[in-house]
Structures are given as C-alpha cells and as structure tokens.
Symmetry: C2
Subunit: 398 residues, 2 copies
DNA sequence: TTGTATTAATAAAATGAATTGACTAATCTT
DNA sequence: AAGATTAGTCAATTCATTTTATTAATACAA
C-alpha cells in the first residue's frame, strides 16, 4: 500500500546514512560526511553527536588536509553493539558473536545429527545464553539474535513466525514454529532467514558486497542456495523462495549424483549426495572440510564432480546475466575456501564460450570474505542490517 | 553514493503518493486518502489542493457512507497532462498521444523499411509535432516525449544520451545519438528506453501491473524481449541489458528457425526468421497481423512454431521462478492478441510438469492490457512515470 | 421533530527536523 | 604577521507535517 512520510522518517534515514558513511568510509570527518551525504555540516554534526552519545561511533585521530582547521575523524565503535548469529542445519549448529564492526568475537560449534525440534531449540537457547552472558558483552548493547535455517521457509498469517524446513531433507521439521519457540525463552529481538539469504546479507553489509548494491550470492551449503541482493536489499520473491538456484535443470544429460525423477542441479551440490557418491568410490568423507584434502590431492572422483559443478554453475550464471544483467556474483558457503576459490578462478573462462553478448561486460566472480562461517556471520548481521542499513523503506510509514 | 534527505523531498514524495492513490483508487475522498496513505487529513487535504490547482485531479461526485458529512471524491483529470510515445523499429514507427489517465487519444502508424538515422529522426520529429500541435492538446501540459527503441541500448559518459541498436539486426545504426538528435529539434523532455522495458513500465503504470510491484514482462517484438519490474520500478541491470530473455539457450535440441552458431531462444521468436521460415513453407507472411489468420486456421506450420515457442518459454519462466520467485508474468507485444492469449492460457499447465516446488505457488500468466501498441503506450508513459510514480528514490538527494 | 453521534473538511497553532547565517578556532600561505 | 581556508558549532529561521479546534453535513435514536 502507498503510504506517506514525514520529518520523523527523514530523521531516521539521515541517521542511518551518516552511520553507514562512517562505517564504509571512516575514519572520516564531520565535514566530509556532510559533503558525501549532501547534508549540511550542521545536520551531519548533529547526527554525529547522537551517534557518539549512543556509542555507535567514536572519535579517531585528528587529520589535516591542505589548509584550515584540522578535522577530528569518526569511526565505528566496534563495542557499540553486539549481535548473535546462529547457523543451524541437521549436521551442525554454529553460534557466533560479532561486534558492530562485523568482527567475529566468539564462536561455538556443535556437530549434531538431525535433532528433534525440542532438542535443537534447547541447544540454540543455551548457545545464545553462552554468547550473550560472556564478560565481553556485559552491559553492552545487544542488537539481536539472527538465525539462519536451511530453506525454504514459511511465514504464517500473523507474520510473526517463519519456519519450516524442506521436509524431505529434514524429517520431523515440518512447520516448526522456531521463531515463536525461541522468543518464549530469549529476551532479544529474533530474526530468521534462510541461511543463503542471511549469508548474502552478511556479505552485503560487511563483506565482498559492501559497496555493491546488486549482486547474486551463491551459497554452497547442505545444497545449493542463492541470495539475490537488489538495490542494496535482499530480494526474497513472492513466496520467499527467490534464489532457489538448485532447482534449475541440468543443461545436458544429468549428474551421476542425481536420483530424483525431476533431475535438477541441486542434486549435484547436495553434500549428502556427494558424500554418498564419494563413499561408493571408497572415499571416506563426512564433512565439508574433508573435501579440501581430496581437492589438494586432485582426487579423480572429486575433480570429476568439480568439473561438472562448474559446468552446471555456468548455466545458472548465464541465466543470471540474461535475466538480471548482474555485475558481480559472490561465491561462499561451507565448501573449503580453496575449492570456492578454484571455482571463482575458472568460471570467467568457462562462461565466455557459451555467453552471448552484444555490449555488456561479463559478470565478475568473487569469493565471499566470510569464509565457511558465512551463514552464521550472515545471521548475526540480520539485526545489524535491520537497525543500521540505509534502506529507503525506513523512509516510509509502516 | 549514500545521500540524505530533507523536508523538500518529503513533500515531493507525499505529493506523488497522494496522486497515485487517487489514480489507482479514485474516485476517493480526501479522508480516505488520508487513511490509506497514513498522512493526516490536513496534509492530504493540502496536497489535494495543490493537485487541483495544477489540474492533475478534479472533484467528482459526492459520496455518503453511513453517517457523517458526505465526502467529495477526487479522480484523475485526464486532460491534466498529455504525453507522446514513439515505438520505432526497422519496419515501423508508431506514434501516439495519451492523456494523464493513460487513454490513447491519437495514433499515427508508418510502415517503413530500415531507414537511415537521418530519415528516421525526421519522421519522428514530424510525428511528434503532429501529435503535440493538435487542437486537443492546445495549451495543455505536455509531460514529455517517450521513445522506445529495440535494445540493447547504450549510455554515454555524460549520461545525457542513450542510443544504439543491435547492429546485426539493424545496419548503419551503431552508436546513433538518437536522444541528442531529437533534443535539438524538440522542445520537450525526451525519455528513451528499449521497447520491452518501456512496455513493461506502461503495464506497470496503466495496465496489468497497476497493483503488482514485482513482475516479469515478456515482450514479443522484432525478437523476444523482457522487462523486469522490481519493487515497482524497472530493473535494468549493470549494462541496461536485464531481461534479455532471447539469449537463453534452447532447453533441448534447437529450433528449426535457428541459424547461428550460438543457438538461443531469441532466434525462434525473431519475426524475420519466422516470416522467412513460413515463406519457405509457401506462406506469404509479412506482418505480425498476418499471423492471426494462420492461428485461426490452425495452420500446421504455425502451430508447430507455436508449440515450440511455448516449450521454450517454459524454460525461461522456470528460471524466472527459481531466480526471482516472481508472482506474475505479463505477456504482451506485437503478436496478435489471440496468440498471446493462447500462450497465457496454455503455459500454467505446461509449466506444472517440469516445475519443482516445495511450498511456493506457480507464477500467474496474464496478457498485457496495452494490446499490440504496448511499446508505444509504454514509451508514452515514460514521462508520466518520471513525473508521477511514487518511487522511493525521489526521497533522496540527487 | 429534536438531540446526539459520526464523519468530512479546513483554519490556526505547534512541532521538529534540516537549513541558514554568524561566529570561533585552527592551520596553511604569503 | 596578515590573510585565506577549513572545521565545527551556536542561534535563528524555515517549512511540511502534525495537532488542536471549529464548522458543517448527515444518520440514527428517542
């Protein structure tokens, strides 16, 4: 619905704009903030005063340029806020604490095995408590708790709780009100996203997408996921399922890992499928980390998988270019960094041959900066993003 | 760059919000406008006064609901502004005049044959003059001139002029500064878009996309084009080439119309390819309208083409769903309406079989309301959109 | 028929954000 | 040492929305 705006919203937006300017371009002086944001020096100065008061920024070194009075610079105060991120899947729970600058402060990792919802929630709650009760964040402001779940998710009518997990891949987890269950026990705002979207938001705010308003994030998790960042914000689609890259059909033939009657690329990237297939070839692989060794050894089976993976990705990324003319594709997730790096290195050449172009540049491939904890880090940035990101929707009523 | 906002921008945005509310929901009272926009009654009333003063809206009937004073309703004043739209391609130039309500007032159509840039510009100029000098718009406010060109387009460094046409399909038209050439002779603001994007904006503002902020528009023109509307605005991509649906590869085999060494779906939808192929089968077809007869007669060659066309579209639209989880796909363009209607009718069933879904609804297929003049009507709405659409970017400096 | 409740619309005053203008202080240039 | 330039802030102004108050029109109930 079309709603108006007023001074209050203006204030909220300018507050975010100034904070973002300091975060992305700091250390920076009040005068430079005013120039960049096109606000008056007075307004910028006033907003900075509010940011200082709330401890979100702090003054840094004095700086002199050519002439005139030297300027005192401002930069993000990492201790100004903290946030908790959880990345949950059937084989693991990662919990982390990050500060306002996006630094990872604490990390807790559990290997688990398809827990019941009740057990899972209990583990999440104790993990959150452990992270928020540490001496580090004593008295500090906690922005909230972000939870990354394997998609697809649901939102019920009340818009309050979102949660269900692909029932085939994760039995007994249909329509579990994860958000509600957590809210009953945790006294912080709770944000839930599918882990691919969360990771994309993480890269957008703190990582490779910091200065890139439009990109496609490709998430190698339990399967193949994606997060689409459009105009600086995640684009979720009508049913919150945008970025389901795994559903694309194989460009020709099908993967030896495919077993379903609707062959789709996701099957090739499904880690359980991959483990099983490698086991069939006498390779004992149980965790994503184990793949790094196979890659280092140039194991023939793994390299066969990797070559096919690249071929399949090419067809997806071509679609991304034709549809969205996307500038940058960021790759991240639980696969070892060396493997993701290899993919990012090879794709530009591989995509060039089938690509049709009249006057546009090919997409750039980049590795995410969050490493294998991308989902947890992304989850942790959900509260930060909600509070600080300079989205234009904060300008509009409701 | 991150820029701030202030009261002036607030005012501009609320002005648009109120106008849009009247346009989409009128006849509507001041009180209802206030309720919908969440502005105060006073503010809504003040903005309406400004809209009345500028003749963009007019008062309508009195309306009484249950109790209380009856309200005077407001509605768009069609005569409040006019706009000119041109749809140019190598075989035709369509020029139209529309009013503020989106009604087609005058239409001029020329059949042409790959004119030189100079001849084309002259024809455009005389068409524009004819449309703007008519007695109808005497003394009326002309919002501007919109020009739809076959993509892909370019923007030069100065951001002022955009213009070049697929040189393979349209010889001697590389890097022609159409915008600049028009501006020298025409004293109205000039807007240029590729015709698919223009048509998409037209459907967004006045047609099937009126109340739909996210949709994919599919344009059957000289080839296959697309326009992506995201958050109410056209999404153009990094090189302004988003929506190049024609570049998708064939899902299997290739079309009998395909001749290039990089087979792609666009070849199948290329009208010249289609005419040629039909000619080879002794069917004398020269214009899009001629296809309607073939369709009525259920001509075997044409139906073969049509069945393949649907198959190819399915693969594109599946990609649209997986990538964007798009709710609605609007079909329009120069193909006869009966054929587009047939496609829209058959696609839901055709897409259901290959489609993979866990908990999302399939896209809805709809025919555009602009008919075969979609591109020209879309071009005509470019100035209207720029002046009246409630985009959040009008809230931000620069 | 009369009094009351409800709603529409606007006038006048208040609010609160950014802006404008004036001023001080710090540094470089000549 | 004087002048130029820049940073930063206080005080006053501006201006669109909001708040408050008022008038007018209608329906409903007694």
């Amino acid at each position: 619905m079309l709603t108006g705006t007023n001074l209050t919203y203006t204030k909220a937006y300018n507050f975010r704009i100034v904070f973002e300017t300091i975060r992305l371009h700091g250390p920076i002086s009040r005068a430079d903030i005013a120039r960049q944001t096109r606000l008056t020096a007075q307004t910028a100065s006033n907003i900075v005063a509010r940011l200082l008061e709330r401890n979100f920024v702090k003054e840094g070194v004095k700086l002199q340029k050519k002439r005139g009075a030297p300027s005192t610079t401002l930069e993000v105060n990492p201790e100004g806020a903290y946030s908790v991120g959880l990345d949950f899947n059937r084989d693991h729970l990662t919990g982390i604490l990050v500060d306002l600058a996006g630094n990872l402060k604490t990390k807790i990792f559990y290997e688990i095995n398809s827990p019941t919802p009740k057990d899972a929630i209990n583990l999440m709650v104790s993990t959150i408590r452990q992270l928020t009760d540490s001496s580090l964040v004593k008295d500090a402001y906690i922005a909230g708790i972000g939870l990354g779940l394997p998609g697809p998710l649901e939102i019920n009518k009340n818009n309050e709780v979102s949660n269900t997990i692909n029932p085939k891949a994760f039995p007994n987890w249909e329509h579990v009100p994860v958000g509600k269950m957590l809210k009953d026990k945790i006294d912080h705002p709770i944000y839930i996203e599918n882990n691919a979207s969360a990771a994309a938001i993480g890269e957008r705010m703190y990582g490779a997408g910091k200065n890139i308003p439009n990109f496609l994030y490709t998430f190698f998790g339990a399967g193949l996921g994606g997060g689409l960042v459009i105009n600086g914000n995640i684009f979720e689609g009508e049913n919150r399922n945008a970025g389901e890259l795994g559903y694309f059909p194989f460009p020709n033939g099908k993967s030896p890992l495919s077993t379903s009657d609707q062959p789709h690329i996701g099957e090739h990237f499904n880690l359980n499928n991959l483990y099983r297939w490698l086991n069939e070839h006498d390779l004992d692989i149980k965790r994503p980390e184990d793949l790094a060794n196979l890659y280092n050894d140039k194991n023939e089976w793994f390299m066969q998988w990797l070559d096919l993976a690249k071929e399949y990705l090419v067809s997806i990324f071509l679609a991304a270019e034709y549809f969205l003319d996307i500038e940058i594709i960021i790759l991240g997730g639980r696969l070892p960094y060396s493997i993701i790096e290899d993919i990012a290195k090879d794709l530009p050449d591989l995509i060039e041959k089938p690509r049709i172009s009249i006057n546009s540049k090919p997409p750039i491939f980049q590795c995410g900066t969050a490493g294998t904890d991308a989902a947890a880090l992304g989850a942790a940035t959900l509260p930060m993003f909600d509070l600080f990101a300079a989205q234009t929707d904060v300008l509009i009523k409701d």
